[in-house]
């Protein structure tokens, strides 16, 4: 015992025990119960056993004693069924209520998949027990403690000398928690005993399980990959390959929109009457309306009338005349706002127009409106009392009249009054075959450049490619203009050389 004394810079002096017959080896299964000396002594007497578990221990211990088969001396286990809680603080004599409940959390069993019944989501009158149990979140966890009795040999069986060597927790999702963690060559854990002889024990935890075989891992990966590809194929089969395409050379414009609201008008009970005007080169599907009337809406606070009126147009653009290099004109939505009151009086409230935007996407636009005025008070009085007002004969006068052919449009002498505004939201989609080629060309060019990499190279290689293309075209043109006999003789030469 005297050999092995060593001192270090610290205050304590420690002693290493030589290898003695105190070595113990034990193989512990999951939730396998091994009794400590203390437990053996305790449960041997029948009067100490109160719960059925303790009585079962008693029978086991008696059987063990009879057969004189004792596997473990110092190492024993506490399984999930034992009431064991680790007191972290030595200063506290009794644990708090919460600490106790937390330690006993694992004793509550829950169903595998606790399905919440749809009919009773809320417990309106929880009982006391329910309240207490629901304070703490518990996932079903099975715990096991591997303990060591670290008392001096010969004086085993004292409760004070029990120390936790390792705690293993496993929950229903397959997560295994081991505390303390494996050493992994980081140095041993130190356990200091608190008894008369303060001893220091070194604790090593090693992961001794064998790794998964490479082929098994490979098989697992392959299985996952198969699963994913099969799911993808299934989805693809649902989706299919065809898509409705417009005829070549035609641009299809689809506008999905709503008339949202109208605001700032003089009278109440407004409605909007609108239509879409298609310029030249535009056509639409027959029997599909390009106009509409909304419902009559009374304004709420702040003079806003909500329509939330959906419309959907589909038009086609076909460039008939290629030589005409002007930009295409886009369709225009003309609308007028009218009011209808209780006495069935109609009044025009405003005229406006909206050009369909040429960029696809989501647009929210507010258009202001005006209404024509006639000079003199008679018209206004009539409008006030009877209803009716001067209306535009041709609503396209709002923008550029359809009959206009000159260079300068003059509206001199036309009197109007500004009225409120109407809000539209539009979703524009453009669809054409030409877009396919453009996008794939862009992608193809991008990949070539990405492969080559670098901006300086990008410019030069692209130039080279272009130059080659041009040279090739020139050669082809030149070849066409060559006299026939030259080409024939060269062909003959080629055939002779190959033959």
């Amino acid at each position: 015992m005297a050999d092995g004394w060593c001192t270090d810079t610290g205050e304590s002096v420690y002693l290493t025990l030589p290898e003695s017959s105190d070595a113990e080896e034990l193989v512990v299964g999951w939730q396998e119960k091994f009794f400590s000396q203390y437990e053996v002594d305790l449960y041997q007497t029948e009067s100490n056993c109160q719960t059925p578990l303790e009585r079962q221990y008693h029978t086991e211990i008696m059987a063990m004693e009879r057969s004189k088969r004792r596997q473990n001396q110092r190492i024993f286990t506490y399984t999930d069924f034992d009431r064991f809680s680790k007191w972290e603080e030595v200063t506290q004599s009794t644990p708090t209520f919460l600490a106790e409940r937390m330690a006993n959390v694992r004793h509550r069993r829950q169903e595998r998949q606790s399905v919440v019944p749809k009919s009773r989501l809320i417990t309106w009158e929880p009982s006391e027990e329910f309240i207490k149990n629901s304070h703490i979140i518990n996932t079903p966890v099975q715990t096991m403690h591997i303990m060591g009795d670290l008392g001096p040999s010969g004086k085993l069986g004292l409760k004070e000398n029990e120390y936790i060597l390792c705690t293993i927790k496993a929950d229903g999702n397959g997560v295994i928690t081991i505390k303390p963690d494996f050493n992994n060559n980081r140095g041993a854990y130190r356990l200091e005993t608190q008894g008369e002889k303060r001893e220091v024990w070194r604790l090593y935890l090693e992961n001794a399980s064998s790794d998964i075989h490479a082929e098994e891992k490979e098989r697992e990966q392959r299985m996952y990959r198969d699963l994913y590809t099969r799911h993808k194929d299934y989805l693809n089969s649902l989706v299919g390959q065809d898509f409705e395409m417009p005829p070549p050379g035609i641009l299809r414009l689809i506008v999905n929109g709503e008339i949202v609201s109208a605001q700032g008008y003089e009278y109440d009970n407004l409605y909007v009457h609108f239509f879409l005007d298609l310029p030249n080169n535009w056509s639409s599907v027959p029997f599909h309306g390009l106009s509409g009337v909304t419902q009559t809406c009374r304004t709420s606070s702040e003079d806003v009338a909500f329509f939330s009126y959906p419309f959907s147009f589909e038009t086609f653009f076909h460039k008939e005349d290629e030589s005409d290099g002007s930009l295409p004109q886009w369709p225009v939505l003309y609308f007028k706002v009218l009011s209808l009151d209780f006495w069935q009086r109609y009044r025009t409230e405003g005229y406006g127009f909206l050009v369909i935007p040429s960029t696809p996407g989501y647009h929210r636009m507010t258009c202001r409106t005006w209404r024509p005025l006639q000079s003199g008070t008679v018209a206004e009085l009539r409008r006030f009392f009877i209803g009716g007002a001067p209306e535009l004969e041709d609503i396209s006068y709002v923008r550029v009249p359809g009959t206009f052919k000159g260079k300068r449009l003059s509206r001199f002498g036309f009197r109007t009054q500004t009225t409120g505004s109407v809000t539209f939201t539009l979703n524009c989609i453009q669809h054409a075959r030409a877009f396919i080629d453009a996008s794939t060309l862009k992608k193809r060019r991008q990949t070539v450049l990405d492969q080559l990499g670098g901006h300086s190279q990008q410019g030069s290689v692209y130039n080279v490619l272009e130059a080659f293309q041009r040279a090739r075209n020139r050669m082809q043109e030149a070849r066409e203009t060559l006299p026939r006999d030259l080409i024939n003789t060269s062909a003959q030469l080629n055939s002779e050389s190959s033959a």
Binding site: F243, E258, S308
Partner: protein, 175 residues
Amino acid sequence: MAELHIIGQIIGATGFPQKSLFCKWGVHAGGAWRLLSGLKEGQTQVDIPQTGDMAYWSHPIDLHYTTKGLQGWPKLHLQVWHQDSFGRCQLYGYGYIHVPSSPGQHRLQCVTWRPLGSWQDQLAEMFVGGGPQLRSSDLIYSGADRYRLHTVGMGTVELELCVILRHFDRYGVES
């Protein structure tokens, strides 16, 4: 075929005269569209805001459509209802909005309106509650016969929708 993902939420409603509101919603698309996964209609919970005006639902929308053509782009229709302290439900508004066609995140406001009856109906409504409802809600899908209706504007429903398009560019669709 091309695919469309609509992922978002119905955030809540604001601007309604009373506070205890819930919303019935549905997504409606044309014949060329097929729903691969997700629920295309539902009903939110009743929300009573304690402070402020906005009733929050945060109701999730997660849909996966596939389509053979561009007609019949999906539209979202909403009905906002009010539940009072006696448990009676009263219609507070119909709303309608197209699902945006450009990819990305969109914050949308859908305005709602409610049909009005004659002045006698309105007087009774003030005391007893209730009010006319559309017999068939098809009227809010298409606008065809709407001009017969006499309505009043109600509040606004706020939505946040993220739109993801797939393979549309392969078929030459710009959006």
